[in-house]
Symmetry: C2
Subunit: 337 residues, 2 copies
């Protein structure tokens, strides 16, 4: 699966920015891939792109329209179907992260068949995976892990890809969630894979590579999250990381969506090493990424300093202070390019 | 989902007993539910049941025909379709553990619709699960875990259900694999659930119950198996066991299907306790079930004695020596009925 850019971002008529977070996440990282946004009357999200309809976007080179918004209930409203059909008619492929398959809507399916355009449902991988094998592959891998869900694992991985490339590393972001798939044009939404194939899918996204090559793998969930730890463990085993970065949100008391208390950073390091050794005995932590958005700058710097000293690892907020310290550590531990 | 018995076991024309292991597993545990077997010319498996065709089975009270065999490739051969259609015409439901859905075959789907019979594809749960919540539920739970796949977790759970009931416990086997689903008439084939819902499905199969009630949950995979550990961890978190039994095969050197060495029993106890505490802080091991089929009786007794002393836990081979010692331990630790 390879989703071709440039993209037209379809934001529908969603009531707020949160409902368009997939689309906005794409713009954050791949603005140069986005020729415009296509909004319906009443849309309250704004990606700060030129507004354009499918015909104009296609004329401007757009290859794929991304359904980068989700309405209440996650279903595809009837009045969006017409917009998707229009994109296909204009010559674009359409990619969606909705739970519902585009191809389950007869008007969309029929138009795609007639025009020869592709439909991508990233929550429904068409790829047939093997079960994981656990065999060591060539090349190097870094995985972002978390004390919780939604603590910046995707952001940290993308920032590390960029930071490592800036220092001359041969590094590629590997997407494991839907927004990540749109940002990189490929990958697998792991949460949608059948349970038996989690680690197999993780092996598939980070295949054998040159010894100096780094896959920077987007983490999912947390080994301590009672809803999603199975996905996290399968991803850890399948991606067999040489290095991992712990992502953390310091103001959170309970884990997202449940009443379970947050684990400590040290808990996460220990359990990740213990479980990760199964497929990579040399696994080690190379840094801590902390989301300090809720703190003032002084407070943030102080917290990062404390966390860094406590764990004897570089600690940074990738958004606020960049990831240079972690990239430097990777170079020290594994060799610079 | 409730699959109604009595069953007619369809074994097709499979070349050997291994290809009919689902059907034979049902007979091992629920012979009283099986009115007969339906075999096609050339079948080399034998469940030691009266041979009968669908009409005769239905006249003898059979409510469901179980497709208890799998041909090479796991697909449904054309010449089996006719047999399935005949079962529906005779008034039976049909349940299958094949990867392919019965309802994807037009002749089967149409006949089921016309006759009003049900089709069960246990590898494709029709149930919509929630994500796991990790909240403590009432009642007690026991989970079988393993040093590897295929080390007797289902057998141990079924033997414990029986042994506990014999001692007056209110205990119910909870199936998490396809054969287990046929044996109990309900449950979920966890390996076929979408990754995000593993622990949620495990919560669903072992709901709130009387304080004295025991769910005896069939384990899956191993926390140390690089292919399936994600399923194992989600099942552990979702089933939130009070007690667990480690299942082990002492002659195995590497894990099933991969090159990874087998963990020790102690490794499995330690990691199960460590991870299981997330949803049940009081989790503890209550016994070890060892498959000693490859050993002579003296050797087997000696090995069990050593394992028992080493871990300060009852150790037994459920097939050879029963599970009384483990049931006794459960009574001591949690109270007898």
């Amino acid at each position: 699966m390879e989703i071709h850019h440039p993209y037209l971002l379809f934001l529908g008529d969603v009531p707020d920015a949160l409902a368009a977070k997939t689309g906005l996440g794409i713009v954050d990282w791949r603005k140069e891939w986005c020729v415009g946004q296509y909004r319906l009357y009443g849309c309250n999200a704004d990606a700060n792109l030129p507004d354009m309809a499918p015909g104009e976007a296609a004329a401007n080179g757009a290859k794929t329209m991304i359904v980068g918004a989700v309405n209440a209930g996650g279903v595809l409203p009837d009045h969006w179907v017409e917009s998707i059909v229009a994109a296909l008619e204009a010559g674009m492929d359409v990619a969606s992260g909705l739970h519902m398959r585009l191809s389950d809507v007869p008007a969309i399916r029929d138009t795609a068949a007639r025009t020869g355009r592709k439909l991508f449902d990233v929550r429904h991988s068409a790829e047939r995976f093997s079960t994981g094998k656990g065999t060591k592959r060539s090349g190097k891998r870094l995985l972002t892990v978390g004390t919780d869900c939604s603590v910046g694992k995707k952001y940290a991985a993308l920032a590390l890809e960029k930071g490592m490339r800036d220092q001359g590393f041969d590094a590629d972001f590997r997407a494991t969630g839907q927004t990540g798939v749109f940002i990189s044009g490929r990958g697998v939404a792991l949460d949608a894979v059948v349970a038996d194939f989690i680690s197999g899918a993780a092996e598939w996204i980070s295949p054998d590579a040159d010894e100096a090559h780094w896959d920077v793998v987007e983490g999912q969930g947390s080994l301590y999250h009672p809803s999603f730890a199975g996905v996290t463990l399968g991803l850890l085993h399948g991606s067999q990381p040489d290095a991992f970065v712990v992502c953390h949100e310091p103001t959170r008391k309970t884990m997202r969506g449940v009443q379970t208390p947050l684990p400590s950073i040290q808990d996460v390091i220990d359990l990740t090493v213990r479980c990760g050794r199964l497929t990579n005995p040399a696994i080690r932590c190379v840094g801590i990424a902390v989301n300090t958005a809720a703190l003032g700058e002084d407070e943030a710097r102080k917290l990062l300093e404390t966390i860094s000293v406590d764990h004897d690892l570089p600690a940074t907020d990738p958004v606020r202070f960049g990831v240079e310290a972690i990239v430097e550590r990777i170079g020290k531990e594994f060799g610079n390019p």
